[in-house]
């Protein structure tokens, strides 16, 4: 179980978080159909570097961008994400 450093709460157990998607797969309603299909249905599954959108769902509920190695689960960067309250 990973230990994820929430920028708001500090290090917390993986179980408090939910993975949403790779950052590059964020799709806006005004994107093209091609981008939509790529982001929803044919994502890459990289071994190694991956920048991902997570949410501290069972904690502060904030969205965070996590940079992680999918092979080793080493977390190299975490950023707060989203609206400034």
């Amino acid at each position: 179980m990973m230990l994820i450093p929430c920028p708001h709460c500090g290090p917390r157990a993986h179980a408090e978080f939910t993975f949403d998607r790779p950052v590059e797969a964020i799709t806006r309603p005004d994107d093209t159909a091609d981008a939509l299909v790529r982001n929803l249905f044919s994502r890459d599954n990289p071994r190694g570097h991956s920048r991902e959108l997570w949410r501290h769902t069972y904690g502060c509920r904030a969205w965070i961008a996590l940079t992680r190695d999918t092979a080793t689960h080493a977390i190299t960067d975490v950023q707060a994400w989203g609206a400034k309250a």
Binding site: M1, M2, L3, A13, H14, T18, D20, I26, T27, R28, P29, D30, D31, A33, L36, V37, L40, L53, R55, T57, R61, A62, W63, T72, H73, W81, G82, A83, K84
Partner: protein, 982 residues
């Protein structure tokens, strides 16, 4: 006379006390400090069970958790635990244990006939049988099912509790042998917060049976002094606690046996505890596991590991046999031979596969002073039968020899326990000479020391461990002390050669590699010849290492055989994955507190107690429970539901809808946010008005539905389904924070802030008028504010039932007064309470879609006849995806109604032409006409929107029910909505 016996003295047992226990119906005794295995061995028991496939008799191979054969069921009733290793079960008074895989008794076993047909159960038997004619499989299955399975499950509920603990430490030390103790001392003295986990009931590991001197004192005294010091330094010392899994970011799961398998629990009722230990650094000192030697019938009772024989002697004061022969390729057997001779146990001979010049001269001399030692001799065949060995046939360069013995103690060298290191993502180096993998390239905070690092010598282990303890403390903020490490002076018994290849002439079909799954060298060879050349394929095809011991004594031997067959070095052949848990665990350990009522937390609506007073049948709805109906005397659930539905259609009913998802969205851009979350238009909604809405997923399918109300110019209330509320909260947050972070808007989840009470029926308006002060009942899809019983409420007029209806929102903590007032007013109008069943009947008759029913994650807005409500200006989540070609397929499952031409329709029925014909759709909800005769349902049907009038069969083989139905529009009651529109 053959078999084990208790020696007059020695061992770490309390001979002043006697424990009574039963095994297979016979009474035995032992002492505190015994394991079930040592106590039975001391009583002369040789046969502990029968094997899984051939039902061959099996005895003890080992003395620790690696034991593959001596599996027992322990305890009685709900405490019964199958597949427990007799070697890992510490004796307690009153223990009741039984052997496994035998019927009707261990001595006379019907399944043993499998031995006679062994040639017919080769590697891959099950796969080959599956490939055979299906008719034949049915025949096999019957026989196999009866014989298969390891142990039996308990038949009664477990009366005990299981606990989960989260814990943290700077340094976790796994294993309290010499290396673990040394590392823990170094780290603790350096100021680190240390936890020490030991799977045995006492600390010491291999030192417990070692006459070595450490720091000038006997090993046992050093262990005791170390334990005292560790506890004084505040180290969390956990015994009977096994590290079973090493997960990401140095999370190690520790399984603690609070009481022994099958034993009654103490006052706290806790049988086992799972520690989730998050460590800064993890020092792995798991030790090594001895491996057997390959010779014919090496699975017979009496063939034991050399180290195990020594453990039974030194730790338990038990002579494993009367006449012992040792066969070895390592120094370990010399230690055993010397200890046995010194204890007065007869050693027939020590047979070393190595040549004399490869063995330490002093060791050889000291051993030869005590017993015969033959070098260059290898075991060929265990003599004897099902009751145990009677001797050993061996081969030397010069010829053959045989020895009389009731125990054959073998040592094929030590295999470092790299399990946790590998689970943590580490790498391995191959040591060809010793035939071992040693840990390298740690990926997390782990370091391996001592025997599990391939450092078998005691002096090396102690000093390596000390260094590792200091380093781990330094890495976690401690200050390394300058003390000197524990010192051991003496010879290191450590040398070994790899001894995977059997002596010439040995029949591989009779050499057991994995005794628990009955896999022989012959099976491995057959698998290889049949083309299973990857180590993973070999494992699955032969089942090598797939039993409950996970191949602790067998995997490396199997790997070496594959490498030999392949003609490639072992590291190139690869290794199978080391998977947690390290030892078999009970399900209760994983379930922890999450059993029975505590499986999921129960949330109670603010009106829960009001419902509970009726003791209704409950329905789980999301996290909550809702009454299915309020039964009166003599009513069934069905008659009560119909009465309640009729009440709503004729007078008035009230029901608790507090579980609905509710969100308050406010700010200048509130309407903009909602028009991205919802697929319908929102911004044109007048203040004080509301409308039906639904949301799409990003892939264009319908996500959920609800209503949206404009409370003020810049403030909205959005409702959604109970089960979809968490999903909706996620969607709103995602749209708000990720897609449109610049919108000036806030969204709050107010699901449990408001209680909500629906009032429905022709007299609903009269109830509202009578109860709500300061407000006239609002028009359909309008809202108003008033006061009920002194409580401020929001009243919205919306209908789910198809009748004139209102929902009254009140603060949760004041909801009871509002409910009571509404219930009394409803009664005064000849109405009353209704539950979920009536609600379902009413909504089916009205043809409303429901999340979880028709909104099933596969239907589009068009499929559900909602496309006219889509916001023509677009911009909402899922808009683009709806344009995918698949959404235009005319054969999609579409929302229809079905009217029965006969009796009731079964929910979940398939829609077919005739039984056995292609499935065209299914009935999502079934009901009946409330005030008229007839049965109706809602369905999803291929191309259904274009098929009114078609006749089909609603067919449910599982419910053995069927009804002819006619496809129609999905509304059976008041299609124009005249009953609630103003």
């Amino acid at each position: 006379m053959s078999g084990g016996s208790r020696l007059p003295a020695g061992g770490l047992i309390d001979r002043s006390r006697t424990l009574r226990f039963g095994f297979d119906g016979r009474d035995f005794t032992g002492h505190p400090g015994d394991t079930l295995a040592s106590a039975l061995l001391a009583s002369g028991v040789r046969v502990f069970g029968r094997s899984f496939k051939y039902h061959r008799t099996r005895g003890l191979l080992a003395a620790g958790v690696e034991e593959p054969s001596a599996l027992v069921g322990a305890g009685e009733g709900g405490r019964f635990e199958p597949n427990t290793r007799a070697t890992d079960l510490h004796l307690y008074d009153g223990l009741v244990a039984e052997s496994q895989n035998r019927w009707p008794s261990l001595a006379l076993d019907v399944g043993a006939v499998n031995q006679l047909i062994a040639p017919f159960i080769p590697a891959g038997f099950y796969y080959k049988t599956f490939l055979g004619p299906p008719a034949l499989w049915k025949l096999y299955e019957h026989v196999i099912r009866a014989a298969a399975g390891l142990g039996r499950p308990p038949h009664l509920p477990d009366p005990d509790r299981y606990e989960r603990r989260a814990a943290f430490c700077d340094v976790l030390v796994v294993g309290a042998g010499p290396a673990g103790l040394s590392a823990a001392l170094a780290a603790a003295r350096s100021g680190a917060r240390v936890a020490l986990a030991e799977m045995d009931s006492r600390l010491g590991g291999s030192l417990l049976g070692d006459p070595a001197q450490i720091d000038g004192q006997p090993a046992r005294d050093w262990i005791a002094a170390s334990e005292t010091e560790l506890r004084t330094l505040g180290v969390r010392v956990l015994t009977r606690t096994t590290a079973i899994g090493y997960y990401d970011h140095d999370m190690v799961y520790l399984a603690e046996r609070v009481v022994e398998p099958g034993a009654a629990t103490g006052d706290d009722g806790i049988a086992q505890r799972m520690w989730r230990m998050r460590a800064g650094r993890v020092i792995l000192a798991q030790g090594a596991i001895e491996r057997p030697l390959p010779f014919e019938d090496n699975d017979r009772p009496g063939v034991m590991l050399s180290g195990a024989v020594r453990t039974y002697l030194d730790r338990f004061g038990v002579a494993a046999g009367q006449r012992i022969v040792l066969a070895t390729s390592s120094d370990d057997a010399y230690r055993t031979a010397i200890r046995l001779c010194d204890a007065g146990v007869r050693v027939e001979a020590l047979l070393d596969a190595r040549s004399g010049d490869a063995i330490d001269a002093d060791l050889l001399r000291r051993t030869r002073d005590r017993c015969p030692v033959e070098t260059g001799v290898r075991p060929v065949r265990a003599l004897g039968g099902a009751k145990g060995v009677t001797g050993l046939a061996a081969a030397a360069a010069g010829g053959a020899a045989s020895f009389i013995a009731d125990v054959i103690a073998v040592s094929g060298g030590l295999t470092p326990s790299v399990h946790l290191h590998m689970q943590a993502g580490g790498g391995l180096d191959w040591d060809e000479g010793r035939g071992i993998f040693t840990p390298t390239a740690p990926r997390q905070g782990q370091v391996s020391i001592g025997a599990c690092a391939g450092r078998f010598g005691l002096a090396d282990a102690l000093s390596d461990a000390w260094r590792a303890g200091l380093d781990a403390a330094a890495a976690t903020g401690g200050r390394p002390v300058a003390d000197t490490p524990p010192r051991f002076e003496g010879r290191a018994f450590a040398d070994q050669i790899s001894a995977f290849v059997p002596a010439p002439g040995v029949n591989p079909k009779k050499v057991f590699v994995d005794p628990q799954n009955d896999v022989t060298l012959g099976d491995l060879d057959l698998a290889w010849r049949e083309g299973y050349r990857s180590v993973e394929h070999q494992k699955r095809y032969t089942t090598l290492g797939m039993a409950t011991d996970q191949g602790k004594t067998s995997n490396l031997i199997g790997l070496a055989r594959l490498a030999q067959n392949e003609g490639r070095p072992a590291p190139q052949v690869g290794l199978t994955t080391f998977r947690p848990p390290f030892i078999p665990t009970t399900l209760g350990l994983w379930a922890g507190e999450d059993a029975g009522f505590h499986v999921t937390p129960l949330r109670r609506t603010p009106l829960h107690d009001q419902h509970a007073a009726f003791d209704p049948p409950w329905q789980a709805v999301g996290y909550w429970r809702r009454p299915r109906a309020y039964l009166r005397a003599g009513e069934t659930l069905a008659t009560a539901a119909l009465r309640e539905a009729r009440m709503v259609r004729t007078t008035v009913g009230i029901t608790d809808v507090s579980t609905l998802g509710k969100f308050e969205v406010s700010g200048p851009d509130a309407a903009q946010l909602l028009e991205r979350v919802c697929a319908t238009s929102v911004s044109k909604l007048a203040v004080g008005r509301g409308r039906y809405t639904f949301m799409l997923r990003e892939d264009g399918l319908v996500n959920d539905d609800g209503t949206v109300w404009r409370l003020a110019e810049d403030r909205f209330l959005l409702t959604s389904s109970t089960g979809g509320a968490d999903r909706m909260a996620g969607l709103i947050s995602y749209v708000r924070n990720v897609l449109y972070p610049d919108l000036r808007v806030g969204a709050a989840n107010v699901q449990e802030h408001h209680a909500a009470i629906a009032v429905a029926g022709p007299r609903a308006r009269a109830v509202i008028a009578a109860v709500v002060e300061g407000m006239a009942p609002p028009r359909h899809m309008s809202l108003g504010r008033g006061v009920v019983a002194g409580v401020p409420v929001l009243v919205i007029a919306a209908s789910y039932s198809g009748e004139r209806a209102f929902e009254v929102y009140a603060p949760s903590h004041q909801a009871v007064a509002v409910w009571t007032a509404l219930a009394e007013a409803a009664q005064a109008q000849d109405g009353g309470l209704y539950g979920l069943e009536a609600l379902e009947i009413l909504r089916v008759e009205k043809g409303h879609v429901e999340t979880g029913g028709e909104i099933d994650g596969r239907t589009s807005a068009h499929d559900l006849r909602l496309e006219k409500m889509l916001n023509p200006r677009g911009g909402y989540v899922g808009q683009l995806a709806q344009q995918r070609p698949a959404f235009a397929d005319p054969d999609r499952l579409q929302f229809v109604g079905v009217e029965s031409l006969g009796g009731p329709i079964a929910e979940g029925s398939m829609l077919v032409e005739r039984p056995g014909f292609a499935v065209q759709g299914h009935v999502t909800a079934a009901g009946l006409r409330v005030l008229e005769e007839g049965f109706v349902g809602l369905a999803l049907l291929k191309g259904g929107r274009a098929r009114p009038g078609d006749e089909l069969l609603a067919w449910s083989p599982t419910r053995t029910a069927s009804a002819r139905v006619r496809v129609c529009e999905p509304v059976f009651h008041d299609p124009a909505g005249e009953r609630y529109r103003d």
